[in-house]
Symmetry: C2
């Protein structure tokens, strides 16, 4: 089965486990709405690729871990879109969940997806109990307080923002979770895989800034130009388009050279490079046509 | 150490683990705000009492489980108090968290507490890995979808409410978690302890209805008369005060007779009875003074 099929199957299976005819219908429907359509599924793809590069001895544990990571990420999107944060109109190319359902359902959907993420890891524990516990520890560390994505979002309520801590926790944390969890699924130590996750997270942040600045809403599936609009610090404002692309290429080279020795090292490097190419909009690499530049 | 001290110590320790000087300050402070002052801590008290009745072989695991359960409960209170649900003014005798901090911080506090609950169970796993995994499974089942407290709150968004499913999930679920988790901490099967939790949950619901109808805001630490105000189904409206008290006593007797055989069975029965007495306001048991009644 291709990686993308494995991931979609695992997510579909996880969501079905949270639904029941005897459960409230709107919240049941909202769980599925929150995680589809999938898009790149970049975090579970990295997780699965790392596990496969290390031999993937327990594929069902890997699939559960990938689904758990994607559910946690989806939960954060649903809550970040709420009126008290971004009040987003669009997400995944359709109305944001609180607009399609309601604000109460959006709060509960996020809560339910977070809980479900830990549940599916606990229920996959029979494949390797020690790894399952480590997976729950890593996922909670990289999603909660003080250093996970909750902390990252929490920085936006501070008058003085520690920019490095903000980016590391808001964007980097779940990429670090992806590489560490992939290694754990294969029975490896998590620590040597931290740098790869951190660097992919940094590269993703720069690519996101480029897409926000250069793409339109139809391409993104969500509003464009948000960094400029909200005056958020971003790589394009700091370095210009060409400077941001150069920075992206630098980070990517560092990411690839940080990959620990493992049986599938070369294939993993190729996957990271191929994925990265798709992240940067083609227009960012075109020769400038502005006269005099 | 007394049960209440064990619980407060474990909660304080858990919250400290989510705070750091390099983390966003408001969200750090809000975590502690959400769980204090403690009040009865009824769910972890039941959990700890069940574990002790079964010998409590791993007290650190029990303390972690009690704290995890209380953090999950506290998270649900913070989210249920949000403007899109009850828009509560008061909680634990002080301004509700979204009023003391902000709505974004309240959303993130709930999310962080949910995540922290699973984290502390994973980190207590060295005492008994099999039990820790079962604890995570039970806590997630009783808090998420389709049958946990998220489902309970989700019923309030439905036009037609399944009242039995609503009460079982909204109130009963975390009491079932309490008795099941207490048994698991002692290396026992969870299943024989389900009925005790379910019946305590039912009794608690009736007592809560009585307090809501008969007590004032100062006594409750939150607004009174909310069931009447929101037209919510409740035992006092259905049965009257005396009928509700009789129903409470019936449920309590059933709860006590459901306690599985265990070394501390008698002490546990006494604890349940003593706690229950404190739940029902004294005025509910006074002879009526209304002429002709």
């Amino acid at each position: 089965m291709r990686i993308s099929e494995r991931i979609e199957t695992a997510i579909t299976h996880a969501i079905a486990g949270g639904q029941a005819s005897a459960a409230p219908a709107k919240l049941s429907a909202a769980l599925g709405y929150a995680v589809t359509p999938g898009g790149a599924r970049i975090r579970p793809t990295i997780l699965t690729s790392v596990a496969m590069a290390c031999g993937d001895p327990h594929p069902k544990l890997t699939d559960a871990a990938g689904a758990a990571l994607e559910l946690l990420h989806s939960a954060s999107l649903v809550h970040d879109d709420l009126p008290c944060f971004d009040d987003a109109e669009l997400r995944r190319g359709k109305p944001a969940l609180h607009r399609a359902f309601s604000e109460p359902i959006a709060v509960l959907t996020g809560d339910s997806l977070i809980i479900m993420a830990f549940q599916i890891l606990a229920r996959a524990a029979q494949h390797n109990p020690t790894a399952a516990i480590a997976l729950i520890d890593v996922l909670s560390t990289r999603s909660g307080m003080p250093y996970g994505i909750c902390a990252g979002q929490g920085w936006e309520s501070e008058e003085v923002i520690d920019l490095s801590a903000y980016h590391q926790s808001k964007t980097g944390a779940l990429f670090i979770a992806a590489t560490q969890m992939g290694a754990l699924c294969a029975g490896q130590d998590a620590e040597p895989w931290t740098e790869l996750g951190a660097r992919i997270g940094e590269a993703f942040q720069v690519a996101d800034d480029l897409r926000d600045a250069l793409c339109d809403e139809d391409t993104l599936g969500k509003p464009a130009g948000q960094d400029d609009l909200h005056g958020r610090p971003n790589a394009v404002a700091q370095l210009g388009v060409r400077g941001a692309v150069a920075r992206f290429d630098d980070i990517l080279a560092g990411a690839i050279s940080s990959i620990p020795a493992c049986p599938g090292e070369a294939a993993l490097a190729q996957m990271v490079r191929a994925y990265a190419d798709r992240l940067v909009p083609a227009i960012a690499r075109e020769k400038p046509t502005v006269p005099g530049e």
